[in-house]
Symmetry: C2
Subunit: 188 residues, 2 copies
């Protein structure tokens, strides 16, 4: 059921790093993104995939994690992503709208969830450093990084009041809690 | 299989308008959007749902359709959307990034596809007119309109060459063809 995939698709930031995600799996996920709607069908997005060291480590070094967890600077070695899909705009094409990367990224993460993987969209990126690590030409602009792997944490959705705090937190058992607004509060 | 949903999730613009989409179905779809990732978990998006006349007609009047089909100004009466979900930013909240509406809209459309519905994201909107039709206060900014219904057209994906034309077209049998780049051409 699609609803099960949507519920299971949480943002995961700790992984069983030794559980490899193959290049073939990443290509399957990018092929999903290939088929999604794009503003005016422009298809200005391109995809860089990584699933090996030392490249994984070079990508990791450019990312900022979980800004609300002030005492956690990101996953430790052994719990880092096993793979990445980096969504890039090819500036040789016009973007049809600003939402395309979200459409593609969510489709990739839902596809990953179906096969027992999980991940996180990361926008806190040292762009110049990642551009250099990937050896990307100037006509490519990095929009989003998707970290992927086999999740090694439990993430729970909590309901919040309309004007409540949206900051996620971890409890003493390292369970990650994410407050989401109630349905009635997001309807106009 | 998720891959089947992704393939079946085409942009549909002609519908069996008399096949109603219930308010309950729309609420199920918005509830999926409630659970998706949002930049910094800000959850600044809200949702306006419509599935009845005369409101449907008022919304329809504000939309531009399929810019590449120069001899088609949009679906005729009887083939118009049976429902709409309008994604709005509540300006009382900061957006975590610019991709959130895409994440939400794609999740809604994939959910609709699973239950035999289809639709289209529309960004060509007469904003002031739609804002007035929906009686939306100034703190709401319309980002995207999702048209929904039971599809009454066949949409086929075509592969294009790397530098080929991305414009979709209709053939003499009213089949809608959408060129998509090849997998090898979207990989860096």
């Amino acid at each position: 059921m699609f609803s099960d995939i949507v519920k299971a698709n949480r943002s995961y930031r700790r992984f069983f790093e030794q559980e490899a995600v193959t290049r073939e799996t990443l290509l399957t996920l990018v092929d999903y993104a290939r088929l999604v709607p794009a503003g005016a069908n422009k298809q200005a997005l391109k995809y860089y995939i990584a699933c090996e060291q030392p490249l994984n480590g070079q990508i990791f070094a450019t990312l900022g994690w979980a800004a609300y967890l002030k005492d956690w600077s990101g996953p430790v070695a052994g719990e880092r992503p096993a793979a990445y899909i980096i969504i890039v705009q090819d500036k040789g094409y016009k973007m049809g709208n600003s939402f395309d990367a979200g459409i593609a990224a969510q489709t990739i993460l839902l596809g990953a969830t179906e096969i027992g993987l999980g991940g996180c969209m990361l926008g806190n990126i040292k762009h110049a450093q990642l551009q250099a690590a990937l050896n990307l030409a100037d006509n490519f602009e990095i929009l989003l990084v998707i970290a992927l792997g086999k999740p090694k944490e439990k993430v729970v959705i909590e309901e919040i009041e309309a004007n409540g705090d949206i900051k996620y937190w971890r409890d003493e058992n390292q369970v990650h809690h994410v407050p989401k607004r109630k349905l009635k509060d997001i309807l106009i």
